[in-house]
Every structure is written in structure tokens, then in C-alpha cells.
């Protein structure tokens, strides 16, 4: 019973917050709704017994990807003063969201303790869990049966990196300000970089 309740809560909130991601006018709010939907998706993963993927969702998506989005969004031209103005007005909503998250935490833990939802397979029998842990099972698939897909995914990331560099990197002109020549910096010795001067009282130094 508690699993079903928790499932509908998590699933409903994933959809509701996903709708808010595209409905919110303020891009920062969109990212925050996105984070909320990631959290709830992680809750769903806990319910089906995939703790490892749930943790990945929280650590990688919420911790890294969404925060990166947030940084990018904050680089946009947004009037932050106008955004903060509604703090008192939004306070009850904030408290409500916090309470829901707290309730979810307990529900999720309770549901996890009561045993995961059994996932079905097309022939009607539930998938066998076996006695290997989540991480072991994923690792065996990822680096065994699906190793070639894993490698292709690596090449896709490489192409994304090449693309980002090709489209944004601009060769600085020689002698331009702020151009860093690491070799030159390392070759520099203390005696070239510093000079001892003994200036007369009341006069400046000429270097």
C-alpha cells in the first residue's frame, strides 16, 4: 500500500514539476523545477529497487548537470532584484515544497523498507533480482554485453568536445593582452623578475 501511495506521489510530482519547467517564465525557476523533477525521478528509482541509479540521478543530474544549467542561466541577463522582491510572498509556497520533499523522504524510506515494487516482464513473470547488487549488475552489463555501446558513447562525447572547441575557440593574436605563454612563465628566473632599489626619501622609483 505504502509503495502505491509513494509511487503516485513521486510520479505526479515528476509530471507536475516537468510541466512547470516549461511553464515558468523565469529561467532560474525552470532549472529549480527541473531539479525537483530529478529528485522525484530518483524517488521512483528507489521504489523499483534501483538505488544506484537513484543515487546517480541525485549526484550527477542534480549535483552537476542542473547546477551547471543554473550557472549558464545566471549568465543570462536577468534582473535579480526583481526576482528577490517576492520572497515573503513566495515563502508559503517554499515551505509547502519543503514539506512535500520531507514527506517524500519518509514515504520513500518506508516504501524501500517494505520492499520494492516488482517489475513485470512481457511473459508475466517478474524479473529475477538474483543476489548481485545493483552496481555489480550494471557494471557486468555495461562493461560486458554492452561494452561496444559504451565505447561509442565515449566517441560521441569526444565529438561533442571537438564541436565545442571548433565553434568557440579563437586563436589569440600574438602579443595580445592576457595571452598566456606557459613556457615563458616557467623559464622566468627570480633575478629577471625582481630588482632591488633603494629609493631616496620623498622620491619615486624609475624601473
Amino acid at each position: 500500500m505504502i509503495q502505491v501511495l509513494a509511487f503516485y506521489l513521486f510520479a505526479g510530482l515528476v509530471i507536475a514539476s516537468a510541466v512547470m519547467v516549461i511553464m515558468a517564465r523565469n529561467p532560474v525557476h525552470s532549472v529549480l523545477w527541473l531539479i525537483l523533477s530529478f529528485f522525484n525521478a530518483a524517488g521512483l528509482m528507489v521504489l523499483v529497487g534501483a538505488e544506484f541509479i537513484a543515487m546517480l540521478l541525485v549526484i550527477v543530474y542534480v549535483g552537476a548537470v542542473a547546477v551547471l544549467f543554473l550557472f549558464v542561466v545566471m549568465m543570462l541577463d536577468i534582473d535579480f532584484a526583481a526576482m528577490r522582491a517576492g520572497f515573503i510572498k513566495n515563502f508559503p509556497l517554499g515551505i509547502a515544497v519543503a514539506l512535500i520533499l520531507l514527506a517524500e523522504l519518509f514515504l520513500g524510506l518506508g516504501a524501500y523498507g517494505a520492499g520494492g515494487i516488482e517489475l513485470g516482464t512481457p511473459d508475466g513473470t517478474a524479473a529475477e533480482r538474483g543476489d548481485v547488487s545493483n552496481i555489480q549488475a550494471i557494471g557486468a552489463l555495461l562493461y560486458g554485453r554492452y561494452i561496444v555501446l559504451f565505447e561509442i558513447a565515449g566517441i560521441i562525447l569526444l565529438v561533442a568536445m571537438i564541436g565545442a572547441i571548433v565553434l568557440t575557440h579563437r586563436e589569440a593574436k600574438p602579443g595580445a593582452r592576457g595571452r598566456q605563454d606557459i613556457g615563458k612563465q616557467i623559464r622566468r628566473r627570480p633575478e629577471e623578475a625582481t630588482v632591488m632599489k633603494n629609493p631616496e626619501y620623498g622620491k619615486g622609483v624609475e624601473l
Partner: protein
């Protein structure tokens, strides 16, 4: 357990392309743009080598269980080999014409071939190669994304050119949307059948389709229709083709089209092969709509690249007609059409690339090619051959390609659809002939006087010979290869 030794032997072309891509990337990173030309030459040789590797399998014809690599993730049968060979040839052609374009004034403020360009083309080709040999939805998606990501960057590689940036952005946003639709369809199919490999999805789709399964099928077909730019998912094509640098447009119009069409055919027959009636009407609609809209849309165009974009939509319609017949003869006709289409569109784009002013600027509108028969007779006559062939006028090979498709359609009893397609191709003939009229009967504008390199002439000559009546000498062996490929595709059916 996976038998890695035999799997690696099957994917040798992909391994070669990956190794070449990685090594050339290092060369490009250390050598910079000075080494762009050697990198391009090496990339062409790698593609050529990969193409040679497909020859034995193509010649003897491979199908059945021996062609699976890495479990059931990839399937390197005759069909995959045929598409791969075509993709490699198209990519070679597009790489050969690239340096002259990027080193001329046509490239705008950022003149000079970037060393990363050949590397990106290699990786895009690798993605296509993976796509056509996919036999699992995960392989399919990864191959598609590898190809698309490289293509987005190629479209906007002229950073200083606004049109190029616009093309890249449009392609990226719409491509991401299409990938999302495709992925959603795949996840529905996975959810309702419990497998990602083509065989088990097919097994899960037996009998009456549930609503969820039908949704999955339609989403997957819609996502693929976007990738091949079939109506009603064609809107991005004219803008992207016009904005992207011309060698990149030539690439988009040839290699990725082959890959996406091959992928669509494989998904249609190997995954949905038990549910032909469910997708046949969708594909038939897309085919006829593409033929009609491609022909009508091209009429008002002044820009030659936009015109060729509509022409490619029109041609995709004929290719899909072969697919919609859902018979081995139809699939074989589709492959023959693909081969001839690649030769025709590569030739047209090479000819466009040769129309340049004295200082190297390219020409793209009808006004510029007026009276070309007087100023550049050789190019004008080659373009005449290409345009008549695209219009499907008899002794040329373009007629043969349309003929085999119509033959398969009529044999399958779909006479009405064949009649509609023939009527629309008459409309299409209008703008192809307008091309010829402007070149041969208008007052010479006399602006396209720039010289082109030998490589362009060789490519143009090869494509012109292929589509000329001499090309009929090729048809027996082409038909043989296409039949073998179609048979491999229908092993599962």
C-alpha cells in the same frame, strides 16, 4: 559471452574509421590548420580503405546469423555493406571538394580549411556506418547521435557567416526535437515489448498492436522521417541546405540520406516486419506527400541550393515509395534509386561548387547561371545531363531509377499510387528544365568565369558518366548487389 574476435572482424571498417579519426584528431591538434590538407587526404584514404573492406562481403553476399556482431547489437549483412559502401563513396566525394571551397573567398571572413573538418566528417561517417548496421535500438540511437552531433558542427563551421550559424542552430534544435521523438518511441516499444534488440521487439509486437505499441511505432517512424526529411517533417531542409557551406550541403544531401533511409528500411522490415499494414500507409503518405511537395515547393525558388533541397525531398519520396511497397523487389528498387540519387546530387553540388567568379565567390541563384552554355559550356552540358537525369528523362540513368521503383509499385498492385507519383514527377520536371532553359537560352550573365581544380572536373566527369546512357552497363551488377542486400533485409521477414 560475446565472441569478440569474430565481432571485431565484422566491424573492421568502423575500427579503421575510429582509429583514423582519433589519430588525425591528434595530428590536427598539434599541427593546426597548416596540416588541414594532409589530414583531409589521409581521411579520404581511410574512407577508401574502409570502402575496400566492404567489397568481399558485398561481392559474395552475406546474411543470416553469422552477420551478428557483439551479441545482437550489430548486424553486418549485405544490406549494411551496400549502404556503407555508398556512404563512404559519398563522403569521399564531399571531402575532395571541401579544401577548394574553404580556401577561396567563398568561405568569407574565416578563410582556410580547418583541420578539424575532415576529422568531423570521419566521425559523422562512423556514426552513419554504425546506424546502418544497427540491430538494436540502443546501437541505432548512438549511431544516429554520433552522426547528428558531427553534422550540427559541420553546418555551422563557418563561424563568421551568419547563414551558416543559423543553419547549424536550426538543424540542432529541430534535430534534438526529432531525436527526442524517436527516443520516446523507442522507450514506449521497450516498455511494451520488454526488449531493445530488433528481434525481441519484433517478437513482442506479434498479433494485434496495443495503443502503446502503435504509439511507439508511429513515434519511431516520425523521428526517422525527420532524419530523412520526408514531408511533413521536411521544413528544416531548405533553410539548412541553403545556410550550410556548400561542401557540407553536398555531404548532407548524400551520405546521411543514405544512412537514414537504410536505417528506416531496416527498422520497417526487421522490427515492424510483422506489422506491415500498420506502417505501410504512413510511409505511403510520406512518400506521395514528399514527391508532390518537393515538386511544388521547388517551383518558386531562386536559390539553387534551396532548389536542390526541394529536389532531394522529391527524390526521398520516390525512395520511400520503394520502401512502402514492402517487397524484396521494392527494397531492391529503393537501393538502386539511392545509388543513382547519390551520383546525381553529388554531381549537381560539385557543379554548383565550380560556378565561381574570378576572385572565388560562389554563385547560387538562377540569375548567375544565365547563359552558362556560352561562358562555361562544359559545366553547362554536365548540368544539363544531371538535370535531365533528375527529371527522369529517358536515355539517362535517372529514368532507370524511377522505372524500377514504379515497376515494383505496379507489381505490388499499387497502380493508383504509381500514377500519382508519375503525375507529380511531371510537375517536378518543370524546374529541372527551367535550369536548362536559363543556362542555354538566356542572355549570358558572364559572371561565372573562375577556374576550378582538376579534382572537381574528375568528380563531375565520373558522375556525368555514371548517369549517362553508359551507366546502363553498371545496372546488371548494381541490380545483383541490390538484390543480395534486399534478400539479407528480408531474412527476418
Amino acid at each position: 559471452m560475446i565472441d569478440f574476435a569474430s565481432s571485431f572482424a565484422l566491424v573492421m571498417p568502423e575500427l579503421l574509421l575510429t582509429a583514423a579519426g582519433l589519430i588525425l584528431l591528434l595530428v590536427a591538434a598539434w599541427g593546426g590548420d597548416k596540416l588541414a590538407r594532409p589530414v583531409a587526404i589521409l581521411a579520404v584514404s581511410a574512407l577508401f580503405g574502409a570502402g575496400v573492406m566492404t567489397v568481399p562481403g558485398l561481392h559474395f553476399g552475406v546474411d543470416g546469423a553469422d552477420t551478428y556482431a557483439f551479441g545482437t547489437l550489430m548486424k553486418v549483412d549485405s544490406f549494411a555493406l551496400f549502404s556503407k559502401a555508398l556512404i563512404y563513396l559519398a563522403a569521399i566525394g564531399c571531402l575532395i571538394v571541401a579544401p577548394a571551397f574553404f580556401n577561396s573567398a567563398a568561405a568569407g571572413a574565416e578563410r582556410g580549411l580547418r583541420a578539424e573538418y575532415p576529422v568531423l566528417v570521419l566521425f559523422a561517417t562512423l556514426g552513419m556506418s554504425i546506424m546502418v548496421s544497427a540491430s538494436d535500438f540502443m546501437t541505432l540511437y548512438l549511431g544516429l547521435e554520433l552522426n547528428s552531433l558531427a553534422a550540427y558542427v559541420l553546418a555551422s563551421i563557418l563561424r563568421a557567416d551568419q547563414r551558416s550559424a543559423e543553419a547549424g542552430l536550426k538543424y540542432f534544435v529541430l534535430g534534438a526535437l526529432a531525436s527526442g521523438i524517436l527516443l520516446y518511441g523507442m522507450s514506449l516499444l521497450y516498455g511494451f515489448t520488454g526488449g531493445t534488440d530488433f528481434a525481441s521487439v519484433r517478437a513482442g509486437l506479434e498479433g494485434e498492436l496495443s495503443t502503446g505499441q502503435l504509439f511507439g511505432l508511429i513515434f519511431v517512424m516520425a523521428g526517422l522521417a525527420f532524419k530523412i526529411a520526408a514531408v511533413p517533417f521536411h521544413m528544416w531542409t531548405p533553410d539548412v541546405y541553403e545556410g550550410a557551406p556548400t561542401p557540407v550541403t553536398a555531404f548532407f544531401a548524400t551520405a546521411p540520406k543514405v544512412a537514414a533511409v537504410a536505417l528506416t528500411a531496416r527498422v520497417a522490415f526487421e522490427v515492424f516486419g510483422g506489422q506491415v499494414l500498420a506502417w505501410q500507409q504512413i510511409v505511403m503518405f510520406a512518400a506521395l506527400a514528399s514527391i508532390v511537395f518537393g515538386a511544388l515547393g521547388a517551383i518558386g525558388q531562386e536559390n539553387l541550393k534551396r532548389l536542390l533541397a526541394y529536389s532531394s525531398i522529391n527524390n526521398i519520396g520516390f525512395i520511400l515509395l520503394g520502401l512502402a511497397v514492402a517487397s524484396p523487389a521494392g527494397a531492391s528498387a529503393m537501393l538502386i534509386y539511392l545509388f543513382i540519387y547519390v551520383a546525381m546530387s553529388l554531381g549537381s553540388f560539385v557543379a554548383l561548387l565550380m560556378l565561381r567568379s574570378e576572385d572565388g565567390n560562389l554563385f547560387e541563384t538562377f540569375g548567375d547561371i544565365a547563359g552558362l552554355a556560352v561562358t562555361r559550356p562544359a559545366i553547362a552540358w554536365c548540368l544539363l545531363l544531371l538535370m535531365f537525369s533528375l527529371a527522369g528523362i529517358p536515355p539517362l540513368l535517372g529514368f532507370y531509377s524511377k522505372f524500377v521503383v514504379f515497376q515494383a509499385t505496379v507489381e505490388a498492385g499499387l497502380v493508383v499510387f504509381a500514377a500519382i507519383a508519375i503525375a507529380a514527377s511531371v510537375i517536378g520536371a518543370f524546374y529541372y528544365i527551367k535550369f536548362v532553359k536559363v543556362m542555354f537560352f538566356d542572355e549570358p550573365a558572364g559572371v561565372a568565369t573562375g577556374k576550378s581544380g582538376a579534382a572537381h572536373w574528375v568528380l563531375l566527369a565520373i558522375t556525368a558518366v555514371i548517369i549517362s546512357p553508359l551507366g546502363y552497363l553498371l545496372t546488371p551488377s548494381l541490380t545483383d548487389l541490390a538484390d543480395k542486400a534486399a534478400r539479407a533485409l528480408f531474412m527476418a521477414v
